[in-house]
Amino acid sequence: MYAYDEIDRTLVNERVSEFRDQVKRRLSGELTEDEFKILRLQNGVYLQLHAYMFRVAIPYGTLASNQLRRLAHVARKYDRGYGHFTTRQNIQFNWIKLAELPDALADLAEVGIHAMQTSGNNMRNVTSDQWAGVAPGEIEDPRIWSELIRQHTTLHPEFSFLPRKFKIAITASDHDRAAIRIHDIGLRLIKNEKGETGFEVLVGGGLGRTPFIAKTIKHFVHGRDILSYIEAILRVYNQYGRRDNIYKARIKILVHELGIEKFSREVEEEWQHIRNSSLQIDDEVIEDIRSRFTYPAYEKLPHMPDELRQAAADPDFEAWRKNSVSPHKVQGYSIVTISLKPTGGPPGDATAEQMDALADLADKYSFGEIRVGHEQNLALPHVAKRDLPALWKALDKLGLATPNVNLITDIIACPGLDYCSLANARSIPIAQELTRRFANHELANLIGRLHINISGCINACGHHHVGHIGILGVEKNGEEVYQITIGGRADESAALGNLIGPGVKFDEVADVVEDIVEAYLALRERPEELFIDTVKRLGVEPFKERVYATR
């Protein structure tokens, strides 16, 4: 966990007071909506179909149990008893009243939570690997650097009025769980030949209307220079980024239009002006941040405790363990992913009761810590293996032990037309139907790793471009139509999916996915060949033929 200092606490509290005054002036008519809109967006408040939506930041996906309890409290007191975890380590409340928002923010501020950097044309919540600090083999905890960037960019005037929103993600592992290649800036923590810590810097990734995979702009930037290098990129973007056309305003368009070489030269030139300035980070600063991350006092535990050996006789436990439990860097401990994708449920939703109960389980089994991943699942990062059987029983009672992590029903979906004012089509009911269609865990395991991502409009909040199977809802002649892509991926081999053919109707989507899966099972060379690898080997055609042969 990271312990905020007095400066952080003061900042968050002052922000609440400021927003309380702004809301008061808005409700009295002193501020018009045009004047107020940018202020509410700077505090995570959107206007959606049914009500205001309130997006709360969970920086780099790390939550303490008391913070999760407070989110449950907000869900219960100010909303309708549940929250929705997003693809960028935030949580959204869908039914919040503007008049009550300052109180909700004040309640969150008491435990160090805020809504800064969750909306608006500024630097957004820096995201990271949900297994940060516990993943075996990572270079070092990427949250130290995430926190450094958070501190530097929060309310930074130069980054508060950018041409468009700006997103940074950081990973420190070979396997990219933070989807850095679909971010405006992606940072991959590495060591150089001297053993010094630094970053491979990628730039210009993003989805939406014009998707791009980020390109490497610099193979190694020393850790001490990372703020100046990011600032150089932002300065070039701020100078040249288009403000006249919202659809061309993201940095990905600028990088594409200038070309990575020219963009890189511009950044390099800017960087030389500022790299030896006060932006150069002293080792003491990093050490101070590092010292504020506390790690559990792990016990020395056996690799295979008796409790785990005995529980292995229970096939339901084993199914869950094999699916949801991952290796930890410390012997005797595990990382437990908690699926928020129950059969028939909206992806990423958790009730206040589940959040409270999970906070209790985190206290009991995970040193009071919870993580949020971009796949809209949660994780307990420090679970002793001996406690796994007891934890599984408790999670199962809460409906939080669905053994489908990384399987076909572990679907990423945006809120879609059920909630979102930008959406053209519904996402959640499609996801729900697919979870019912593939509810059989034996079938899901037979299929193996397969990511389905669903967006209800071209803005792509459901990351459909990088789903192994991507589903994009559009509107055509007053009807919901869904375009299907295959072959996308968001990991270290990130790629955009390819369209398989004409869009299909709402009622046909699950059948089409079933056809694609059946084709895959028939076409794969061996059971270990993943769906994404079969698509890579064979291309779109055989899947297209299967889907459209009878349509």
Binding site: T32, E33, L47, L49, H50, R80, L98, A352, L417, N424
Partner: protein, 105 residues
């Protein structure tokens, strides 16, 4: 479906209403003939041509304290006068999400 934010030209193809979200709590409301807002679609002022729509929208936008994000939305008016939303988006705004919510309200 056109986002209300992009609704620059006022051109209506049939009976329409002005809808928005109430400022203090965000709930869906409709402009009434009495120059107020109602959460009940049956109380909405119905406009049938572009001039009427333009006038009703202008009046609604001016009431910035009462409601926010006003735009023109299509409706269907049955022979008995019953008013129904004219598309799925407006149907969802009127009756709520099409899915079961995790916590029943």
């Amino acid at each position: 479906m056109t986002s209300p934010l992009e609704q620059k030209k006022i051109k209506i193809a049939g009976p329409s209403v002005v809808t928005a979200n109430r400022t203090w709590d965000g709930i869906v409301v409709y402009r009434t003939a009495a120059q107020g807002w109602s959460a009940d679609l049956s109380e909405a002022a119905i406009v049938r041509n572009s001039d009427e729509a333009k006038a009703l929208l202008a009046e609604s936008v001016a009431d910035d304290v009462g409601a926010v994000g006003a735009y023109i939305a299509p409706v269907q008016v049955a022979e008995d006068g019953k008013v129904e939303p004219g598309n799925l988006r407006e149907q969802i705004r009127r009756t709520g999400v099409t899915i079961g919510q995790p916590v029943q309200v």
